[in-house]
Structures are given as structure tokens and as C-alpha cells.
């Protein structure tokens, strides 16, 4: 057989071999603290969204942190925009690169960002916030508690044992349905107000709200 015909079959055979080989190589699944040892390699990483913004050119910068140790964080650079919110637990696949002396993970495709858990799927009692505020600061949270001292556009949310309380401020356009003494679930962003040196829950986004708990 002439070489020019043979080379077609050789090429197809070699491509098939490459395909089989590709089935055995996957990116490493690493923890946030190990990023620096995987320079220029594809990795899979998980964390909670603590910050995100879109640049003027349509790329997105997401900071993810370890849910148990927020000082462990990594910046993700996404070519495009992924539908994420503060507090979501996400998984990203991308290449580790150094940019201005900081490690970041470049994700070429927003589809490589998988939301493992939406922030509002995880409901927890207020005391969890009180005991580990650093783990939730600036993220969206979904907490339960009892409404006390309602006034205008804010109220105090107290834990069932009355030991902890936090101010909830809400925008009237967000869904809210409660009266004093109700047990409610609140979807809000957990913030720190430096002016008053206090933590607060801010109900301002379309996905936020206050609902009466059933039962």
C-alpha cells in the first residue's frame, strides 16, 4: 500500500490510542493549601465562594475559601461568567498559574465550575453563626431563629434558647412574612458593620428573604 494511504490509517489508529490514554489521565484533586505545588497543571479544587466580581471585559474573579478555615483561599479567574452566589460550595477545574505573585486558577470555561451545594440548601441554627462567625463572614447564609423587637425595616433574630441574637435589616422588596415571636428562616448575607462593631444579616438580594417556619 502506498504511504499516502497508509498514513491515513496510522493517524486514525494513533488518535484512537491517544483517546484510550486520555481515559487514564485526570487532573489531580487538591486542597486549597496545596495550590502552589501544582504550578501550570490542571487541578480540581473545591471551596466556598467568599467573594466574586465581573471585570469590565466579561471575565469573572471568584475567591473561594476552605469552609472550615477561611484563611485558606484561592482566586479563580474565569473566562466568562458562572452562575454562583456568595456562600455556594463550588468545584472548579482549571490551570494553576501565578499572577502578580499570587496563585490563581485559570478556568477557561464557565462550565468547568460546578455548584456542589447552593448556599440556601444548608439551613442551620443561629448559634452556628455566633460560634464560627469567621467561617461565614460576607457569604450568604440560611439560618433559623425567633423574631424579636421588630421595627420598620429591621428586627432582632434570636436563637431558640435566647442566648444569641443578631440584627436583621431587610429591603421591603424582598419577600418577608413574619410577626413578633415567629420562628423564621432567614436567607441573607452575613456582614460585619465596622461603624457599630456588630455583625448583621442583610436581606437585600432577590434571592434573599424571611419566611415563617412551618410547624
Amino acid at each position: 500500500m502506498k504511504f499516502k494511504y497508509l498514513i491515513i490509517f496510522i493517524t486514525i489508529g494513533l488518535l484512537f490510542m491517544l483517546y484510550v490514554l486520555s481515559l487514564f489521565t485526570h487532573p489531580a484533586r487538591i486542597s486549597l493549601s496545596d495550590v502552589s505545588s501544582y504550578a501550570d497543571q490542571q487541578v480540581i479544587i473545591q471551596g466556598t465562594v467568599t467573594d466574586y466580581r465581573t471585570t469590565a471585559y466579561g471575565s469573572q474573579l471568584i475567591t473561594i475559601a476552605d469552609s472550615l478555615n477561611r484563611t485558606n483561599s484561592v482566586l479563580l479567574y474565569i473566562e466568562g461568567e458562572a452562575p454562583i452566589e456568595y456562600g455556594d460550595t463550588i468545584q472548579a477545574t482549571g490551570e494553576v498559574q501565578q499572577y502578580k505573585n499570587q496563585w490563581e486558577i485559570v478556568v477557561n470555561n464557565p462550565d468547568s465550575i460546578i455548584v456542589l451545594q447552593k448556599w440556601d440548601d444548608l439551613v442551620f441554627p443561629l448559634w452556628e453563626l455566633a460560634v464560627h462567625p469567621d467561617n461565614y463572614l460576607n457569604t450568604n447564609v440560611h439560618v433559623t431563629g425567633i423574631v424579636t423587637a421588630p421595627s420598620g425595616s429591621s428586627f432582632l433574630l434570636a436563637s431558640t434558647d435566647g442566648k444569641y441574637s443578631i440584627e436583621v435589616i431587610y429591603h421591603s422588596s424582598c419577600p418577608h412574612q413574619f410577626s413578633k415571636g415567629d420562628t423564621v428562616t432567614v436567607k441573607a448575607q452575613f456582614l460585619y458593620d465596622a461603624a457599630t462593631c456588630r455583625f448583621l444579616l442583610s436581606v437585600t438580594q432577590p434571592t434573599h428573604g424571611i419566611w415563617r417556619s412551618e410547624g
Partner: protein
Amino acid sequence: MLDFLLIIIFCVLGVLLGIITGLLPGLHVNNVALIMLSLSSSIVGMFHPLLDYGISEQFILIIIAGFMISVSISHSFHDTIPTTFLGAPEEDTALSVLPAHALLLKGEGYKAVALASLGSYGAILVCLAFLYPLRFIIGPPLLLYTTIREIMIWILLTVTILMIATEKARIIDLGTNGRLPALLGILFAAFVFLLSGVFGLLVFHFHIQSPIGVPAPVLFPALAGLFGFPTLLNSLFTKPEIPEQKVTPLRQNRIEQKSTYFSILTGSLAGILVSIIPGLTTATGTVLAMNARQKSSQEQTIVTLSSVNTAAAFSVTVMLFVILRARSGVTLAVREIIVIEPWDSVVQPLGLTYLLMFLLLSGALSYFLTLYLGKLFAKKFNKLPYQTLVVITLLFVLILVILFTGILGMVILLVATSIGFLPICWGVRRSHCMGVLLIPIILYFL
């Protein structure tokens, strides 16, 4: 004064390094950038003593970035020398001969180098002339880049269809009647494009590691295999007879000159396009630029190709400041070293002004040095053992692939070489192998 002196020194150093990397066959400028990127922190450390002379750290970082840009510009000029003098096939048996090789086989290798450096230098001047118009068209207020982003998928598809549909090869294996040979040529071009695309989709999932711990770019063995290796192997097997080379200064009549200007202009515009649109490479850019004109000679193809190459190297630096995208290895390295101030007002950022000085100076230096070295090469070429030179080049690329990408890189090189032989054996354009980048990017935008 010291500032200006430092710019000149660093530019000359960059050009000299660019000569070395450009003359080494098979070493792509992006790989050079990757090596520099991994060394960038030690390079910055090395020049720290300059701080004692009252030079700001920011300026030191800018001249290091400028040094890298000078390397890339010098590389884009000088790599025409090995691509002209190495890898030519035997003329009678070859279906597709690269234009520079065609001239080499006529004893006009130096002419090919001279035309290429003319194209490269012309491209720098055209890009400079287009600097401000581009800034306002691509960036605010016209924001063409935003529109381009929205219709990127259509642009990429159009480019692909243009590339394949304008294939001129005729395949006569199934008959010579009517339109069948031309149709088969186009179908085979589509086949090569598709195979390269599948190859691209597969290799981008590989996670290769360098045995010596340097960054391992998966594209290095892929591109060396698709474009470099098959050409060199083909040359080795067909044993071309290279005639004695003529070394006469480039002379063009008025019609040729006009044609050259046009090639430089279309080549530069295609190069600028390459720097804006992801997935377009200089090979694709050249096909587009060549399609923009109805008839063309080998000479004009060489001018166009080198214009596209250098215009892309120039324009990626400017685009780094306009659309804040790093579209080449060198700009990735530059972005790593200096803080990029977006060019959003009328006056260009100071950083860009310095880098433009490097671009212009290194372009002018490289032009004359390429002519000088090309002449030297053409004169001494006949005394060199051609086949040995090709074997050494092949071994050199092979060693680089092993050092950078290990065993897996060798496998990638093997598959890529096999794909790269298809266009050579069937006479279709080699640029169809660029499906390796285009198909993954088209799928990304879908």
C-alpha cells in the same frame, strides 16, 4: 539619560537572545516565553542592584518586560532563516512545497530571507500607524471587542469555512473528471482539520509534566509534530538537491513593490486580527490574508506570512493594554511582571510607551541583523552537510520535547507528526492542522 541607556542595552540583549532562539529550529517563541516566565522572579532579583543607582523598581520591571518583547520580535524575524534553509523537499516528488523552500530550491534562499525581513519590518510600521485608530476602534468608545466577543463563534466558523473552502489542491485518485478532484481536495482538507481538532480536544486534557521541572506546555510537542517534524522528515527521506545560493540585494520593479506594500498591509491586518481573536494563529491569518487577494506569487506569500507573524507579535503587546488579554506566551510573561494599566483615555499608559520603544528599536535592529545573517547563511550553506543538519535539528527538537514534556510529550509528538504528514502526502495546505486550536475554541464558544 541612564533610563534611555538601559532601554537600549536591554533591547540589544533581547535581540541577541532572539537571534539564538530564532536560529534554533523548532523552538517556538511561546516556549521561549514560558522558560522566561519560569525564570522571571530570578531575572528580577538579578537586576535588583540597579535600585542603588536611583532607578525605580517599576522601571526595572518594565525594562525586563521590554527585554522579553525584544526577544519575541527578534525571534519572529530570525526564525525565517532556519525555516527557509532547512526542511525543503525534493521538488519533483513533493505535492506541496512551502514558498520559502521553493525559492531555496531555485538558489534564492537569501531572497526569501530578505523578503521575509522586509515583510516583518513593514508590519511594525503598519502596526504603529494603526496604533491609535485601533485603540479607539477595539476599545472605548467604539468597543469593537465587545461586539467581536458576542459574535466570536460566527467569526471562528467563517474563518474555518473560508480556510477549508478555499483549498486549491486537486486529488485525482478517484478520477480526473469535472469537479471531482477539487471537491476531494476540499473534503480532504476538512478531514485533516477535523482530525487535528479531535487531536486538540484529546491533548488539552492531558496533564503532562516536565522531567526537569520546567513548565510543560502541551502545545509544544503538538505544534512541533503538526508542522515542524513532518517537513523535516520529508526533507530527510526525499534528499533534495539544494543548488548554490545567489546572494544579491533584493531588487523589485514597480509592480512588485506595489504588490509587496499590499502584502504587508493585508498581512499586518491579519496579524492584528490574530492578536484579537483567540484560536487564530499566524498560519490561519496568512491564509486569510492570501485569500484577500486574487492572485499571488511565492514571493508575496513569504512577505505576507512574515508580516502576519511580526504584526501579531507587535499587536498582542498593544492589545494587552487595550483589551487586557494576553494572547501569546510573551504577553502572559509580561502581564506577570508588570502591572498593566488599561489604556482607556487618549494618552497611552507610560508602560506601553516604554514597551513601544522596545518594539521599534528591536524591529529595526532585527531587520538588519536578519539580512546580515541570511547572507552569511546563504554563502556558507553549500559547505554545510545538509542531511546531517536536518538530523541534528530533528534530534534537537526531540530532546527539547523530552526535557519539556517527558514520555507523554513524545506520544503527542508522534500522533501530531502522523497528522502533519497528511497534508504533505496529499498536497493540501498545512494550515488545516490548525484545527488543533480552532475546534476546541469553537466548541468552547458554542
